[in-house]
Amino acid sequence: MSKLPPDRAEGVFVDFKPAYTPAQAVVEANRCLFCYDAPCIKACPTSIDIPQFIRKIATGNVEGSARTIFDSNILGMSCARVCPVEVLCVGDCVYNEMGVPPIQIGKLQRYSTDAAYEAGWTFYEAGESTGKSVAVVGAGPAGLAVAHRLRRFGHAVTIYDKRSVVGGLNTTGVAPYKMKADRSVDEVEWVLGIGGIDLKLGVSVPGDVSWAELEDQHDAVFLGFGLGPDSVLDAPGADLDGIEGAVAFIERFKLGGVDLSSIRNAVVIGGGNTAIDAVRELVGLGVQNVKMIYRGTESRMSGYAHEWKAAKQEGVRVVWQAQPVAYQGEGHVTAVTCVRMDDAKQPIPGSEHDIAADLVLLAVGQAKLGELVAGLDGVETQWGRIVTDDDGATGRAGVWAGGDCRNGGKEVVNGVAEGRDAAEAIHAYLTGGA
C-alpha cells in the first residue's frame, strides 16, 4: 500500500473537534438518555445502535462499544470524524427538543473506535472460503464496506483502484481539520486486516482491465468508483494558470505540498460543502484574503449551515448573488469578472465587476462517470448516476453499485451503508439465496 509523504500541506491543520479524554467521554456518555427506538439511530444511514454504544462507554465496556459501532459501520472511525452529525444523529437527539445541548455522538464514536484501533481490536474474521470471487471497482468507502462484509461471508475479494492511494475521497477529499489522509489510510489497513482482500492499485477499469475480463475472472462485480473530475465554468480565460478544480486542489494539498506563498487573493466559486471546505482550507493554509462567490443568497446555499457558520467564524468573506462570466489575466489569472444575479438567479445586465483573484478554485460539482459503464449492457444510468434497486443491484445480473457513482455524491456514511447492503445482496446471489 502506498505510503503518504510526511510533509503534506494538510499537516498545519488541527482537529476542529478534538478527541475526548476518557473523563470527557464518560461525562458525555452518562448524559445519554438511552432512548428507545432512538431518533439518532434512524438518522444514521448505517443505523448504528447509538444509545447502546454510548451506554457501553458509560459502563467501561469500550471494546463492546466499538464492536456495536463496527457491526453496523466498518468505517466507524472515519465516519466519527467526517459525518455531518449536526444534520444526522446529533441533529435528531431528543435533547434538542428540550433546549439542552445534544449528545456529542460523533465525538463519542471517535472515542470508542480510536480505542479499538489503538488497541488492535479487529473483531471480525473472514468466513470459511466459499470459492466465490467478487471484483470491487474503487477502494473508497463503499468499496471497502462491501469488501469487508463479503470477506466475513467467506468470498474472495479483489479491489481495483486507478489511484495509487487507498480510501478514495476519505483519503483525498476530507477537510483536514476533520481527518487527515494518514488516518484514512490507517483505517483502510485496519479494515484489510480481515485478510484475503487483494488490492490492485494503479489499475483502471475499464482500461487496464476490461469489463469482460473482470466479469470473466469474478463471480460478481461491485461498482464503487465515485465521481469524476471537477466541473468547469466555460468562460473566457478559463485556461489561465491559477484556475483549478476544488476537489483536485484539495487532493493535491492533502497528499503533498502546495506553495501558496505568492497568493494574495483566493476565490472559491460555489456554495456547496466542497466550496465551504475549500475556503476554510485556504484560510487554514495561510492565504490572507479568501472569498467565496456564490450565485444565490445565504439562505439558498446548499452547503450545511453549521459548516458555513464555522467558515464565517474563521474569517471567510463572501460575495452573494454573483456569477463569474470571464477570467482576467495574462498567462496567470488576476481577477474574476462577475455579474450580479437577481433573486431568481438571473444575471442583472450591466452589473459586471472584477474581483481580484490570483487563485480560483471551482467547486461547482463533479462529473458523473456513468459513461464508464457504457460497455456493460444492462447497466443503466440516469443523469450520470448508475441506476440500481434498493440493494444496489444494477440491471445486469451479477453487477452491483454503491457510493457516489450511484447516489450522485453523498456522505461517506451513505457509501458505507450502500456497500454493506450490497454485500448482503451479493452474498445471497452467490449462495443461491433471494
Binding site: 476518557p22 473523563a23 464518560v26 438511552f34 428507545y36 447502546q52 451506554r55 457501553k56 458509560a58 459502563t59 467501561g60 465496556n61 471494546e63 463492546g64 464492536r67
Partner: protein
Amino acid sequence: MADLTSNTAGIISPNPFWLASAPPANSGDQVQRAFDAGWGGAVWKTLGTPIQNVSSRFGAIRWRGNNGVGFNNIELITDRPLEVNFREIYETKKKYPKHAIIASLMVETREEWREMIKRSEDAGADGLELNFGCPHGMCERGMGSAVGQEPKVNERITSWAKEFANIPVLVKLTPNVGDILPHGLAAQAGGADGVSLINTIKSIIGVDLDNLVPQPVVGNQSTNGGYCGAAVRPIALHMVAALSRDPRFQIPISGIGGITNWRDAAEFIALGSSSVQVCTEVMLRGYRIVEDMIEGLEQYLASQGMSRLDQLVGAAVPRYTEWGHLDLNYESIAKINADACIGCQLCMVACHDGAHQCIHPNPDGTRVPVIDESECVGCNLCQIVCPVPDCISMVEVDNGYTPATWNQHVSDGATLRPKKGAH
C-alpha cells in the same frame, strides 16, 4: 470468550442474568422478549391468589438530575389469573428450553403450597422461589416478609416446599431484619437448595409537599412500599457477603439489589452469587441493557484470566473480614494530579468540613489545592468528590511499620503507627 453458563442450585441458565420476580417478568410476552434480548432466566412475577392493585404504584428518588437512583413500589403479587400465568410459563419454557424459568410463589396454607408447586412443575418451571420477602401489603396478610422475618416460620414453610417439590427451591429473603444470617440458615435448615436476596426494603420514597401526602399517592393517602434500585446495592452486597463468608452457610445464592450493569453484576458474583436478578434498571431502561451486561462480564472474566463464570463466584469473599483483622499500619495518602485538576476545590471543602482538614489552598495562588501529607489520613473523601477521574489517587505509603491488626494489638501488644489527624 469466557463461558457464562450459570448454575444456581441446579438451575442452569446460559448466563447469570435473570429478570427478578417483578413487573418485567409479569407475562409470557415480556419474558419471551427478554430472552430474545439475551436474558438467561426469569423469575416469574409472584404467583398466588391474584390480587387487586392500587393506582398509583411507583415512586423514585430524583437526585442531582437523575431519576430513579432509588425506587419504590407498592404493587403486590400477580393480578392475572393463575391459569393464564401457568399456561404462559408452559409456552415460554417450550419455546426457550435452555433458558431458566423460576416460579415465584406466595401462598399461605400447606395445601396451597402443595398445589402451587405441582402446577409450577407441570408448567415446566426449572425451579421455585419462595417469596418470603415482600415488605408491603402481603406481609400484612401474614405472607412475604412476615414469613421471612421469622426464622421458624421460614424453615417450616421451606420444608413443606421441599417435601412437595421435585425441582430446586430457592428462598427469597427479606432485608428487613437486623442480621440476615439466621434467616439464611433457617432456609438452609428447611432444606432450601439456595437463597435469593435481597427483596425490597420497607420504605417511604417521599412526600408530596403540596398536598402533604406520602408518595406514591393513592387518592389522598399512601402507604409504605419496597425500596430498590441502584441505591440499595451496598445493602444487598453486604447481605450476600454476610451469608457467603459464614462457614455454616453452604447453599448457593442468587444475588439481587440495584444491579444496573455488568460491573454491578460482577461485584455480586465476586461476593458469592451464582446468578443475579435485575428489575429496576430494566423498568427504567428496558431489556436491552443485558447486551452490555453479557459482553462486559465476558470481557471482564477474560481480563481476569477466567474462562468460566464459576471461577468468579465468591472470589472476593476471602478478602471480606472483620474490622479487627484489618491492618492498622497500612497507610495511604491522597495525591492530586495538578495537570488533571480543574480547580473546583470540592476536595478542599470536603476535607475541611467533612474530614481531616489536610487539603489547603495553593500558596502559589493557583486553584490546584495542596495536600498536607503529614496530616492526610487516607480517608478517600477527596477522591470521592473529585469530578475528574484519576485526578486524585490514593497512594500507599511505606511507613516502615510491620502489619498489625487491632486484635493483634490487644492480644499480643503489636506496635501501631502513630495516629494521623487526631488533634
